[in-house]
Each structure stands twice: as structure tokens, then as C-alpha cells.
């Protein structure tokens, strides 16, 4: 049975912190950007994965994008408030943030084919690239917000 393990890394050293089931950005001042979270996805019970994509299916009440511009082949945009980048090797520069690419919007269709998903490459047949995530808060964002990233993949 296929399963996926989400692993978090130290953004300074790149050392593995551990497996996670939820991502906590912690307390962030309004009007600023959160620290960058570095994660990857390891798949088990499969021989190969393809088309690994990350979507933002809900963002709480936080704004994801006011109007995406500069969208490139992986689906990410140059502007936005939910940062996402991915690299094959750990990059302390990217991890230092803020992340320069963003989700173009919310995956409202909740499907793997949604245009707002961002395609993540692979480091091996069953391990994704490193993924860097952050969130920029608006000055009027106050209080706790939560949402869901969704990982889509094909496997054999």
C-alpha cells in the first residue's frame, strides 16, 4: 500500500529534523513573512512516483494571491503570499527566505490537475525535491489561521 512520509529539515543546516504530519509556522508578526519551512516527501510501497504536485486546498482566511503574474512551467507565480520553491540539493540561501516563487492561487477543484498546483521535481524515484514554504502575512492578519497543503502524485 503506497504511503508518503513528510520530513522537515533545519533551514540553516539542512539536517533532518524529523517526520511531520502538520506544519507549524509559529507566531509571526502581522505584515511580515514567516520563517521558511523546508520539507520533502518520501514515498514507500511504490517503485516509482511521477507528477508530484503540491496544492493549497485551503488557506484559512489568508490571502493567497491578488492576481498571479509571471507564472512559469511548474505553476508557480512571481507574486503572492504563500511562498513555494523547490530544489534538488538543499539550498541554505533559499531556506533563508523569503521565498521568491508563490502559489498562483487556491486549488479549489481539489484535483491533481488544478492549474494552481505547483509541480515538485524528484531527487530519486521515490523522494521529492526539497520544498521551501513560507507565508507572508498582511498587516491586518491577526490571530490563528490554518489550512491544508495537498500532495498529489502518480505511482507504480
Amino acid at each position: 500500500m503506497p504511503s508518503v512520509t513528510i520530513r522537515e529539515y533545519n533551514p540553516t543546516t539542512g539536517a533532518l529534523i524529523g517526520n511531520i504530519s502538520a506544519l507549524s509556522f509559529g507566531r509571526v508578526s502581522s505584515g511580515t513573512t514567516s520563517p521558511v519551512k523546508v520539507i520533502d516527501f518520501a514515498f514507500t510501497g511504490v517503485s516509482v512516483v511521477r507528477n508530484v504536485k503540491l496544492g493549497l486546498t485551503s488557506s484559512g482566511d489568508l490571502t493567497v494571491n491578488d492576481g498571479a503574474t509571471g507564472i512559469i512551467s511548474d505553476g508557480s507565480s512571481e507574486n503572492g503570499y504563500f511562498g513555494i520553491e523547490h530544489t534538488s540539493a538543499f539550498s541554505p540561501i533559499t531556506a533563508a527566505g523569503p521565498v521568491t516563487r508563490h502559489f498562483a492561487g487556491v486549488n479549489e477543484s481539489d484535483t491533481a490537475g488544478d492549474a494552481n498546483n505547483v509541480e515538485i521535481g524528484k531527487r530519486s524515484s521515490v523522494v521529492s525535491q526539497f520544498v521551501y514554504l513560507d507565508i507572508q502575512l498582511l498587516s491586518n492578519n491577526i490571530g490563528t489561521s490554518g489550512g491544508t497543503y495537498k500532495i498529489y502524485f502518480d505511482f507504480e
Partner: protein
């Protein structure tokens, strides 16, 4: 016989209804042990419940050990194809991600909660056989033919205790759902699991030698090892899996084909929740100014007490300066001064 006609169909209103079903009296379905009859109720009991569906049924408990069986399963279906459809209710525990939470409470010797078995032994099936069960790994459907044992697990089903579940176990060696590479599936309520499976056309009519067919058991083994609590509301059996009318209304998972290799691949999805706490950053809050009337004070700068005096040359530290602590209230006058106050009208 039309392909979509049930071989056996029973509303499970009483033990007698099992022997005299709506369809299939001739297959000789029988009862082992006994069942408690749950009176029909048309109450809408949970979201998605249908007022037209009777919620009566036959209740198997730890004490009554009820089971249903047919001595000759070849009258119902073949190893080539068939559908076993059950509407059940598990009153005591939830199903979470396909796993029935009541499994650990069994006092019996079986790890699984058997829903049905063909060619059933004391604990498990023999080859050729079919097996459907609630297991610790999910809802299991196994087809064991001379081509090998193929097992499919459904792990996405979530049902609260007391809600009805419609389970369809479907197989066809020539392909189901209009896809030749999908040979067995489980639909559990509206969730579908499927896989490609090698199935051989083994005979079920003479597994123990000529004239000894494989028996079909529902809710237990011939040795009555199942001791969990369940209500069977409806049982339907079809000999053919070509039942497109039954299945097209259900949402089907998309078959993905790899562009490069042309091979079929499966899709998966997982979630990662996040939380962020937005707090006010460092800032200075300025209260609205209050405007008030100023009281003008006159200060008499004449000294009226002794005043110390000293002198020294530049660059010479005499070391005799007196260090005086500032008064707590800065508006206080130094010692020796008095304040007189005049308030203008």
C-alpha cells in the same frame, strides 16, 4: 439470463427471508446459528440515508452466532466473474480509513471480521476461493485462483458506528468498469478501490472432488469463529460483473496512463495541514492627546536659605563635589526655593 439480473437478492427481514428471498429460492441459501430480527425502520438516521431504504435487518451478536451459507457457490457465481453486494451496519464501532475499530474487541480466534468466504476452512479460504473481510489493514477482497492469490484493500472508507455501509465486491477476469486491466474492485459507499489481477477460470463445483462444490459463507466460517456484532440489511449476488447500470452512478477514480511507457499508473494524494499565528508586531501606540488648561506658576528665584558655594581651578579635581539625587518629581524645585502659584482667571 440477462447480465444485470441478480442470482440472489434478499432484504433480510427475517431468517425465513434468507431461505425465501426476493430472487434465488433455488440456490438453497441456509442459516447456521440464528439471527435477531431488527424491525424495519424508515427513519432517516444519518446524512445520506434514504427514507425508502428499510433499516431493518438480521442482527448477528456474540451469543447467537448467526451465519448464512450456500452449499454450492457455483450456483451463485464463478471464479470468472461476479458481484457480492452487502448492505450492513456496524452498531458499535467506527470504520476509520477502512479499518474497523471493533476488531480488537473480538474474543474469537479470528483476526479478521469475515464478511464472506468461498471454499472456507476453519480460519481462511483454500484455493480456489474468494474472501471478503474487515481486517486491520482495511476492507479486504481476495481472489485465490490457480493463477495466484490477489488481494485488494480499501483504505479510504470512513463510516461512523450505526451508519449503513453498502459494500460491493466485484470481479471479472476479462475486466470491469470498461477497463481490461482492472479485474477486481471494492466499492464501499461511494469510494472505489480496484486493481489488475490475474484470475484463472477454476471450477467451484468440484473443489473437493467430483460432486463436492465450494460452499459460500456469509458473516462467518463453517466453524463459527466470528463473534462480532453486525446487522445485515440486504444481500445481493450477481453472476456477472457486467453491471454498468449499477456502477456508472458512482464516482470512479481516473485511470492514469503514463505517457512515456503507456503503462497504467495509479494516483495518490496526501495532506499536510499548517498553522500560523499572526500577532501584532513591535509598535508604539500613541494615545489621543488630552487638552487641558495650563496653570501658570510664578517662581521666586531668591534664595532664602544657606547656599553652599565652592570654587576650583580648571583641570583640578578637588573631589569635594556633592552628588545630589534628582528628586522623584522633576517639577520639584531645588532645596532653598519656594514656589508661589497664581492662577489666571
Amino acid at each position: 439470463m440477462p447480465k444485470n439480473t441478480a442470482i440472489y437478492s434478499c432484504d433480510c427481514t427475517s431468517e425465513e427471508s434468507l431461505r425465501n428471498p426476493l430472487v434465488g429460492v433455488e440456490v438453497g441459501m441456509q442459516v447456521s446459528g440464528f439471527f435477531k430480527t431488527v424491525q424495519p425502520s424508515y427513519e432517516v438516521a444519518f446524512p445520506g440515508d434514504n427514507i425508502h431504504v428499510s433499516r431493518g435487518g438480521l442482527e448477528k451478536t456474540i451469543s447467537n452466532g448467526g451465519a448464512i451459507f450456500c452449499q454450492d457457490s457455483s450456483q451463485l457465481f464463478s471464479m470468472d466473474s461476479g458481484i457480492i453486494s452487502m448492505r450492513i451496519c456496524l452498531p458499535d464501532y467506527d470504520i476509520v480509513n477502512g479499518v474497523y475499530k471493533g476488531l480488537g474487541t473480538s474474543k474469537g480466534t479470528l483476526e479478521d471480521f469475515i464478511l464472506f468466504g468461498v471454499n472456507m476452512g476453519e480460519h481462511y479460504i483454500a484455493q480456489p476461493g474468494l474472501y471478503g473481510a474487515l481486517t486491520k489493514n482495511g476492507v479486504e477482497f481476495t481472489i485465490w485462483s490457480s493463477a495466484g492469490r490477489e488481494t485488494l484493500l480499501e483504505t479510504n472508507l470512513n463510516v461512523e458506528a450505526g451508519d449503513d455501509i453498502v459494500l460491493n465486491f466485484i470481479w471479472d477476469k476479462n475486466g470491469i468498469l470498461g477497463d481490461e486491466t482492472s479485474n477486481m474492485s471494492i466499492t464501499a459507499n461511494n469510494i472505489l478501490a480496484y486493481k489488475e489481477a490475474e484470475i484463472e477460470s477454476d471450477s467451484l463445483s468440484d473443489v473437493g472432488g467430483v460432486g463436492f462444490p465450494a460452499s459460500f459463507w456469509v458473516l462467518d466460517t463453517p466453524y463459527r469463529k466470528n463473534d462480532l456484532h453486525i446487522i445485515l440489511r440486504r444481500l445481493e449476488i450477481y453472476s456477472s460483473a457486467d453491471s454498468s447500470e449499477r456502477l456508472t452512478a458512482r464516482p470512479l477514480k481516473t485511470f492514469a496512463r503514463d505517457i512515456e511507457s503507456g503503462e497504467y499508473i495509479s494516483s495518490g494524494v496526501s495532506t499536510l495541514s499548517f498553522e500560523i499565528i499572526a500577532s501584532q508586531g513591535p509598535c508604539v501606540n500613541i494615545d489621543s492627546p488630552d487638552f487641558f488648561r495650563v496653570a501658570i506658576s510664578d517662581v521666586d528665584m531668591r534664595a532664602i536659605g544657606p547656599i553652599a558655594s565652592s570654587s576650583h581651578k580648571n583641570g583640578e579635581d578637588l573631589g569635594n563635589e556633592k552628588i545630589q539625587t534628582l528628586p522623584a518629581v522633576l517639577l520639584d524645585l531645588p532645596p532653598g526655593f519656594v514656589e508661589t502659584r497664581r492662577i489666571e482667571p
